[in-house]
């Protein structure tokens, strides 16, 4: 799919983002007469600052978390470096996205309603419920299609499980060591603090040493379900694209399969091709990390906005409803309609009618009826005129 065309827009308007989701002109920096730009920093400057800030925070996190690099495993330096670059890319794109007027408004409003002191306790409970339902169980996807849900749940939890281990390990926050007095006991350190001790032949050891294999199997199972769905669903077949829908699956497949092959190499094949495989695996992981800010995986970071929208809707429902100026029926909250008018003004959408009304105050069914009535009226007028001409 292509980016939407850029039409001439009034100052302060923004474009619709390109298909890859990156904001085309996110902040809508107004151009002043004479081509001057305003004094406040533009969207790109702001996002560059966010990106650099994220990079610095991550580097500091690595430095302090690994106790001045004492726990840092230099063999994993490529993973750590790619993670920092990926983090900077994500911060850049996220901040560009946040500067789009509708996104900025929902972001601001979502936090405002969530942090409202009078409702904070209730909101926190609701947040926990929403988190469980939407994030842990992902029930909204289940209601869309069970097969889609199965694939998504396995892939997302497989990836999160792998990330929960890989990032702390490659940042030097997590370290495993045998006990000084026994080869049978393993210690797990988090930033130099011993958090776990377990025998090497225990169940805990089995799970901990194979957590990445478990994650890989989950992801591979998810990919299989996803491919079945994509092969059978004619709707998906017509709209899917290689770059957006299949390439991410290829990446995850490469990461998972090379990871599993590493385990097979060390446990079954006595280390055959281990060096080559670990380099190949590193390349696939680094490519995936680099892809995070640009492609489909970015929705992981956008998705939590869904929670903010819930709080916004709660606040809207508790307030005054919006009533259609044509039929008088309710069609949402006044809060939403008024906020949308503000967003539209920022985007250069002008629904102000010549009679002083605002088209945004007309409900969707009335918009549809109105269009049909106008067109019908035109035909009636035309046939009346032609009758008049015929008769006289």
């Amino acid at each position: 799919m292509q980016s939407l065309p850029t039409s001439p827009r009034p100052p302060g308007s923004v474009g619709v983002s390109p298909a890859d989701g990156s904001a085309r002109h996110a902040g809508g920096t107004p151009t002043l007469p004479g081509g001057m730009t305003p004094a406040r920093p533009g969207p790109f400057t702001f996002s560059t600052a966010c990106s650099l800030g994220a990079g610095i925070v991550m580097l500091l996190g690595i430095w302090f978390g690994s106790r001045g690099l004492r726990d840092f495993d230099s063999a994993l330096v490529w993973y750590a470096g790619a993670s920092v670059f990926s983090g900077m890319g994500i911060a850049y794109r996220y901040s560009m996205w946040l500067q789009r007027p509708p996104t900025r408004l929902y972001w601001r409003r979502g936090w405002q309603f969530f942090l409202n002191p009078a409702r904070l306790a209730w909101n926190s409970g609701r947040l926990a419920g929403l988190f469980w339902d939407n994030f842990v169980l992902q029930r909204f996807i289940e209601r869309r299609a069970p097969l889609r849900w199965g694939a998504h749940w396995l892939i997302s939890w497989g990836c999160l499980l792998a990330a929960a281990v890989t990032f702390p390990l490659s940042f030097g926050w997590l370290r495993f060591e045998t006990a000084p007095d026994s080869q049978e006991i393993y210690y797990c350190y988090l930033s130099g603090i011993r958090v776990l001790a377990f025998p090497t032949d225990s169940f805990v050891a089995l799970v901990l040493f194979h957590v990445l294999d478990i994650a890989a199997v989950m992801v591979l199972a998810g990919i299989s379900l996803s491919l079945v769905r994509r092969a059978l669903d004619r709707g998906a077949l017509s709209v899917q694209q290689f770059a957006n829908d299949l390439f991410p699956l290829v990446l995850l497949f490469a990461v998972s399969i090379t990871g599993l092959m590493l385990t097979v190499s060390s446990h079954v094949l006595h280390g055959t091709h281990h060096g080559f495989l670990s380099q190949f695996h590193a390349i696939t992981v680094i490519m995936t990390l680099m892809y995070l800010p640009f492609g489909k995986f970015f929705h992981v970071f956008q998705r939590p906005a869904q929670l903010g929208v819930r709080f916004y809707k709660d606040a809207g429902a508790a307030g005054e409803p919006a009533r259609c100026i044509r039929c008088g029926e309710e069609f949402g909250s006044r809060l939403h309609v008024e906020d949308l008018k503000l967003v539209q003004a920022q985007l250069g959408i002008h629904y102000e009618m010549p009679d002083g009304t605002h088209y945004q105050d007309v409900c969707p069914p009335c918009r549809r009826k109105n269009l049909a009535l106008i067109q019908d009226g035109m035909w009636r007028a035309a046939s009346l005129a032609s009758e008049e001409r015929t008769h006289g």
Binding site: M1, Q2, L4, P5, S7, V16, S17, A19, G21, A23, R100, P102, Y106, F140, R143, R144, R148, D233, R234, G235, L237, S238, V239, H299, Q302, R303, Q306, Y312, I325, R326, C327, F331, G332, H336, L340, I349, H350, Y351, E352, M353, D355, T357, Y359, P364, P365, C366, R367, R368, K369, N370, L371, A372, L373, I374, Q375, D376, G377, M378, W379, A381
Partner: protein, 208 residues
């Protein structure tokens, strides 16, 4: 020859064939995306279908905070991307034609995508295939001009906003632009449609 979509509201006979056919579309199987409005006019009842008009610069996409609405190179504005849509309903209440639908259970907006599974391979959309009255048709501009009355228009003015669409509406010549003002069944200013009578045609069509 490029195929185009033409809507001629006043030809609609309210048969609901389009509503049924829309459910067969593979991109949203089982759920109809077309709107069929029943309008109570002073002298009769009118029904009118509304499909997505596939705007050149879609307002639905511009107000979407999640970047969830994309347009294909052939000008078809797609339904929301499932991984992205956060169900805020901005698009639902901002679209000038009242097209997008929000479904609570799946927390997602869905809308007409001109049967992209079909039109992307040169077939007609489901609704235009079954419409018996010509209210919805999908053909070339040349064929349309040869066979039909009226002139196709795809520029709309909603107050200060001018919207160009891929889908045409059929109006008497020499119209070039659709100027949209608020009108009611009686033709006068704003106000509710004629109140419902349980046994009139409109009530029966609306299933009240």
């Amino acid at each position: 020859m490029e195929l185009n979509f033409f809507v001629d509201y006043h030809r609609c006979i309210g048969c609901q064939a389009c509503v049924q056919a829309c459910q067969e579309c593979d991109t949203h199987r089982g759920v109809s995306m077309i709107h069929l409005e029943t309008i109570r006019r002073a002298d009769s009842v009118q029904t009118a279908p509304q499909v997505c008009m596939h705007c050149a610069d879609p307002i639905c996409a511009r107000v979407c905070p999640a970047d969830a609405i994309k347009k294909t190179p052939d000008g078809v504005v797609q339904s929301s991307l499932k991984p992205r849509c956060i169900g805020c309903t901005n698009c639902v209440i901002a679209c000038p034609f009242g097209v997008p639908r929000y479904t609570v259970e799946v927390d997602q907006m869905m809308k007409c995508d001109m049967c992209y599974d079909r039109t992307s391979i040169g077939k007609k959309p489901m609704c235009a295939t079954v419409c018996p009255s010509g209210a919805l048709s999908y053909t070339t501009l040349d064929d349309f001009r040869r066979d039909r009355r009226g002139t196709p228009v795809n520029e709309w003015v909603f107050g200060g906003e001018t919207v160009r669409t891929r889908v045409f509406v059929v109006v008497p010549p020499p119209t070039e632009q659709m100027l949209i003002q608020l009108t009611t069944a009686a033709g006068g200013g704003a106000g509710p449609d004629t109140p419902a009578d349980r046994d009139d045609v409109a009530s029966l069509l609306e299933g009240r």
